[in-house]
């Protein structure tokens, strides 16, 4: 295969130019064909079932919008939807508060410590969500590690309930969310020219002022990316909220599973799933306007 393709000499008349440009766009070369196996695979195993899911939401048990109507009719389901948003928002807020200083520390740390910090924040990403949630139960329950230590030390006289409440859920979910927030923030912060804050100080600003007026605004794109990714992820969590939350903190993921496993209402579950999917895609479309996802993930645009 030649490593470069020749460009057709543009001596064409108007109408032929348009068709040749179309042909150039549709050009596939030998290497390009290699995309087909995975593409076909994903379409069959992933896209088609998603399509079936969407279809089912409109056809099971009856054709129409019944499932969707039911979601918005029942106050219970609405409560779960609002719960999901509120919890996801809270998780995002807490994560932001923790991730920003963590990412900032990464930028000023020595290379060795930076690697340590990076590996540390990626740990939840790669350890089983189940093992971690189980460990969190051991940590947070009334007879768990934290409560035992607090009582022994004399901080509290009786167990402080953390599990089965929003606090417990947030405690568990922030762990998983941290890497998604820290990484984009760090990536943006790393590219901020340190001379800019120095310039601000040279012009008379205090270090803290320079930080807030120069560094923070410049880090916003990374913050926005991190927040968006965290929120999108948090909406769809199932294991952690199911394990650590009480009946009042049910999120949409748990509702979907429950509808399928206990009540066998596939169509309704599908409608819930479509709602979640739709929200995810809308948020992603918004994010896509501000970030180049391909470059972020694969190192090239």
């Amino acid at each position: 295969m030649s490593l470069t393709k020749s460009v057709s000499t543009g001596r064409s008349v108007r109408p032929r130019a348009r068709s040749s440009r179309l042909r150039a766009y549709l050009r596939v070369d030998g290497w390009g064909l290699l995309i087909l196996p995975l593409l076909v695979f994903l379409v069959v195993i992933f896209v088609v079932p998603l399509g079936m899911l969407i279809a089912k939401s409109f056809t099971d048990p009856t054709v129409g919008l019944d499932n969707y109507r039911e979601i918005f009719a029942e106050s219970l389901y609405l409560k779960i939807l609002t719960n999901t948003f509120v919890i996801a928002l809270s998780v995002t807020a807490v994560t932001l508060l923790l991730a920003y200083p963590y990412a900032y520390l990464m930028t000023i740390a020595t290379p060795m410590w930076r690697t340590v910090l990076l590996l540390l924040v990626l740990v939840p990403f790669w350890t089983s969500v189940l093992v971690r949630s189980f460990a969190l139960v051991l940590l947070l329950r009334d007879t768990g590690v934290l409560n035992t230590i607090a009582q022994d030390v004399g901080l509290i006289s009786e167990p402080f309930p953390i599990m089965r409440s929003m606090k417990g859920v947030i405690f568990g979910m922030v762990q998983v969310a941290l890497p998604f927030a820290v990484l984009p923030m760090y990536a943006t912060m790393r590219n901020i020219d340190t001379r800019l804050t120095k310039a601000a100080q040279g012009l008379g600003d205090r270090p803290s002022g320079a930080f807030w007026r120069v560094f923070v605004p410049l880090s916003m794109p990374g913050v926005a990316a991190g927040l968006l990714l965290t929120f999108i992820q948090a909406l769809g969590y199932y294991i952690t909220p199911a394990m650590l939350g009480g009946p009042k903190n049910t999120m949409i993921g748990e509702l979907i599973v429950q509808q399928v496993s206990t009540v066998l209402q596939f169509g309704f579950a599908a409608a819930l799933a479509v709602l979640l999917l739709g929200t995810t895609f809308v948020l992603l479309a918004i994010a896509g306007r501000f970030m180049n996802l391909e470059r972020m993930l694969m190192g090239r645009s």
């Binding site: 030649s2 490593l3 470069t4 393709k5 020749s6 460009v7 000499t9």
Partner: protein, 368 residues
């Protein structure tokens, strides 16, 4: 590199005909219907600045880039439609391109294996090639364990082991330091004499080109501006660009009328002979300029120009005198170091003289 008596009878080189090759990238023309005849067995250098198209031309001959027009023929046979891996031309790359996961031996044997040489002959041929570049004892090493110079030799061995009739070299010495580069220049030249095949060498370094080549093709932005021996390019450049690219030159701009050349910026008229009849550039090489303190009237066979010395640089046996004329033109003269002090120092007024025939009139642009 000693000539190896066991080398097979020297194969003759192949001739290469570049016939109106054209290459376009979007709005830019990289090669503008370039034509060139490379003679069998010669050492030809493609010389030019970056963007001149020299590497593109070499890659088109090698088969890695498809041209947009024109033909390339080797010994009369067209190779334009032959894929790169079937062309059988030896090639050496800048940064060597040695396969990092193979030993030196396997690197050199690679081409032999792909071309189907009998297994029994391969060890012998590899050994010969490595001996030729004085790397015979390093067959088991990996490229990462070798120095830059060693890697370049292995790359050479790999390229010539299967006895191609042409060796293409794309700025192979660019990544080496000066001393090593000069050493390898001589060795490549000797390799060429020993093997007798056609070498096509690409470089941007005009000194390198002058040292090594039988002929030089000077390219400027997609056109061959001059094709000739190093002496021709130095003494008789085809145009201003060639004069300025090769060596150092003193340039006067003006108009020629018959035997006279008017130099408006220096308000002088110089006597000229030969060269371009309608040329607008007068060139004199630094070593042809004589410098004398004070004012002197020129003889009939000389031209003269007053100037003031701005700097004197001593380089062992040579002295370079930088002068500035009244109009602000900066010129360079190269003389021997005088036995006695001849009074030439920065700030001194001097007269430059040169023989009429040492001044060459050139056109602004080469005739295509």
């Amino acid at each position: 590199m000693p000539k190896n008596p066991n080398l097979q009878e020297p194969r003759t080189g192949a001739s290469i005909e570049v016939d109106r090759i054209r290459k376009v990238y979007g709005p830019a023309t990289i090669l503008n219907d370039v034509s060139l005849d490379i003679r069998a067995g010669e050492f030809l250098t493609l010389l030019g600045a970056s963007g001149s198209g020299k590497s593109t031309l070499l890659n088109i001959v090698a088969g890695f880039i498809k041209s947009d027009g024109g033909d390339v023929r080797v010994d009369g046979h067209s190779i334009t439609s032959v894929p790169a891996h079937k062309r059988g031309l030896g090639m050496v790359f800048q940064h060597y391109a040695l396969f990092p996961h193979m030993s030196v031996y396997d690197n050199v044997a690679y081409g032999l294996r792909r071309h189907g040489f009998p297994k029994s002959e391969i060890p012998g041929m590899v050994a010969e090639a490595l001996e030729m570049v004085e790397m015979g004892h390093l067959g088991k090493r990996r490229p990462a364990e070798l120095s830059g110079g060693q890697q370049q030799r292995v790359a050479l061995a790999r390229a010539v082991v299967f006895r191609p009739r042409v060796l293409l070299m794309d700025e192979p010495l660019g990544a080496l330091d000066k001393m090593l580069r000069e050493q390898l220049q001589l060795e490549i030249r000797r390799l060429h004499k020993d093997m007798g095949i056609t070498f096509v060498f690409v470089t941007h370094d005009q000194e390198e080109a002058l040292t090594m080549s039988d002929r030089i093709a000077l390219l400027e932005r997609g056109d061959i501006v001059q094709l000739g021996t190093p002496e021709e390019l130095y003494d008789a450049p085809s145009c201003r660009y060639a004069a300025e690219f090769i060596g150092i030159s003193n340039i006067f701009a003006g108009k020629r009328e018959g035997d006279l050349f008017t130099d408006p910026s220096n308000q002088a008229v110089h006597k000229v002979a030969g060269g371009a009849a309608d040329g607008t550039v007068l060139m004199v090489r630094p070593e042809r300029l004589r410098v004398a303190a004070g004012q002197t009237t020129p003889a009939t066979h000389e031209n003269a120009l007053p100037a003031v010395v701005s700097d004197c640089v001593y380089l062992g046996s040579d002295r370079t005198v930088h002068v500035r004329t009244a109009s602000g033109d900066e010129l360079v003269a190269r003389t021997e170091v005088p036995r006695a002090d001849d009074g030439i120092r920065p700030g001194v007024a001097v007269t430059l003289t040169w023989n009429v025939e040492d001044g060459r009139v050139l056109p602004e642009e080469a005739r295509r």
